[in-house]
Symmetry: C2
Subunit: 359 residues, 2 copies
């Protein structure tokens, strides 16, 4: 068996130790005689997994007693609707900060449900960037302020979160648990699991508990944050296997330490950006340097033909998933938490070789 370097934007690579443990227990979880996939969500085996997953997240995010962890389904895309359905009351306005492709999707869905004000719109800025805190035109009394902490397609990341009077809400699908931050300042955080936390089909929500009181009683039970808060994410059968993998991933992060993981993530990204910046213009980063993402490193080559050749040759050297998103083209190296430093070194070497042959 030979594992490749998976630069894909998500579903993304998982720690090999996590996969090995899942494999070894797949037919017999801890001597129970069944897979965790086959275990009742009301039974003691799964319950221990569920509780540890929640406890690990609370510990890693250092959540206070006002915040709770929920495990939902439907990915961030479902949250684009669920969020305003729960928190955007009739006659209220929600502030959204438009930073690119994913913020744009959140905005489009929110507009179906209520009144949306763009507190800033840098979605067309080139190089791609994040607005400065002083640029934000916030609405007094807004239902909430929404931002996208990392734009996977545009390669930008928020490095300083604004302080807002209204509850701050963030889509953190692509950088959750990649660095320490003050989660307790947020009213709500959501994150599809398939980049930094586990497999697809599981969405983490961190909610300030008082906000769940806004969930309208007329809303379908499954769409109400209040339902899942009251039932500890066991209102119906949760995606048990996904939560099991998330539990193993969070255990892995705890063992490494979030600060160490952050340093490792920063070093991985810094090496790639140094390779781009040191190429004399052969490689060109697409994000403004002060807004560059540590998770998705996006860059262009002198021509689309060279980009295509780059992706093809890298693939032959076991570096997969480097093609930029179909909407923007170029190259994208996604280097989430589980992505090994050795993969970055391999890519940097390859970039040098490729330039020397084609530069």
């Amino acid at each position: 068996m030979s594992r490749v370097f998976n630069f894909g934007a998500g579903p993304a690579g998982l720690p090999v130790e996590v996969l090995e443990e899942a494999r070894d227990q797949l037919l017999d979880f801890q001597g129970s005689g069944m897979s965790i996939m086959e275990s009742s969500h009301r039974g003691k085996e799964y319950d221990a997994v569920h509780q540890e997953a929640i406890a690990n997240l609370k510990s890693l995010l250092q959540l206070d007693a006002d915040h709770e962890v929920l495990f939902l389904q439907g990915g961030a895309s479902m949250q684009f609707g669920m969020l305003p359905l729960n928190l955007l009351g009739v006659g209220q306005t929600a502030d959204y900060i438009h930073t690119g492709s994913w913020a744009g999707k959140a905005i489009k869905e929110a507009k179906l449900i209520g009144k949306v004000h763009l507190a800033a719109d840098v979605s067309k800025a080139r190089p791609a960037r994040i607005p400065k805190v002083g640029e934000l035109a916030l609405t007094p009394g807004a239902a909430y302020v929404h931002l996208t902490s990392n734009e996977t397609i545009d390669g930008t990341e928020w490095w300083e979160f604004p302080r807002t009077e209204s509850p701050l809400v963030a889509d953190m699908s692509s950088d959750i648990l990649s660095r320490p931050f003050d989660a307790n300042r947020f009213g709500l955080i959501y994150a599809g699991a398939q980049k930094n936390l586990g497999p697809s089909g599981l969405c983490l929500v961190v909610i300030r508990k008082d906000l769940a009181a806004r969930s309208p009683a007329t809303l379908s039970s499954m769409l109400r944050y209040a339902t899942h808060l009251e039932e500890n994410s066991l209102y119906n059968t949760p995606p048990t296997f996904g939560i099991y993998i998330l539990m193993l991933v969070t255990r892995w992060i705890k063992a490494m330490g979030l600060e160490n993981l952050h340093l490792r993530n920063r070093e991985k990204a810094a090496k790639l950006y140094a390779a781009i910046d040191g190429s004399g213009g052969f490689y060109r980063g697409t994000a403004a340097p002060e807004c560059r993402s540590n998770m998705n490193v996006t860059f262009r080559l002198p021509s689309e033909a060279l980009e295509e050749q780059f992706v093809k040759e890298a693939s032959k050297h076991s570096m997969k998933g480097l093609k930029g998103h179909r909407s923007v083209g170029g190259i994208r190296a996604s280097i989430y938490n589980a992505f090994p430093a050795a993969g970055v070194d391999a890519l940097v070497s390859f970039m040098r070789e490729f330039q020397s042959k084609n530069g």
Copy 2:
């Protein structure tokens, strides 16, 4: 490693061959150098899985060109809301047939959204039963007629589906693909995967395509059947690993043949019902004989104390998950597709022994 007999109601046992294949490929799917869990949902490895899962379902259900298969999230509970949000127009009435716990949940959620008429209500009948076709009081011009094909808690199953003018809709979570039936007569079928199809976190929907035109444009994209139909269930990242397991399970069913699987299911259930009926009243079935489920065999013992003892001793003999649902008590043996015939034989022997010691 020793596997137990898992009589749990769901998440339920999976075919051991499926688990073995998933285990063997967990770190390196078909030589791709990554797990299928880590593969892009837009890549060729996952695409082949996705297409085969759909093709297997279309083949097993013998779907005509008017019907399509969708992979959604949130389980049947999400469908309880999504269904009326999409198909129950303003001013229209939906007919629901109330047969027990799960039908009751569907009805409760539909009432949040629109006008519901109970075409029959046998939810309080003891023994539990399914209404006869002649008992149904259907609404002319109803948006749809909803039934629950198998009540996991009450132990009843529909053996003859009504012919209705309005589109027939069924929650088939607990008996989908356990027997041949004419799926093309249905407007919509939904089924949480975790009993007969795969792990939790995946919900199969079969929809008559013209019905998707009813999805209101004002609804969140993720909640519209039309979205998922247009995007072939790839609007956002689907629960890829769950769909992979479903693909393996449907491959397993195809290899066995649905008719053979049905015979096996019927034989398993018949053996258990014969043991109940032949016990001289020590074991008492809770469902009317002509409505008995082949999936969930529910019965009582002379006292709750004996029931508790039965569950406890069975567990010591590697028979797990026999406790009835907390809302009704008693014993429930769930014997879905993947449940082995040997497990039924073991339970029948145990029932005889238990009776001879305690009868």
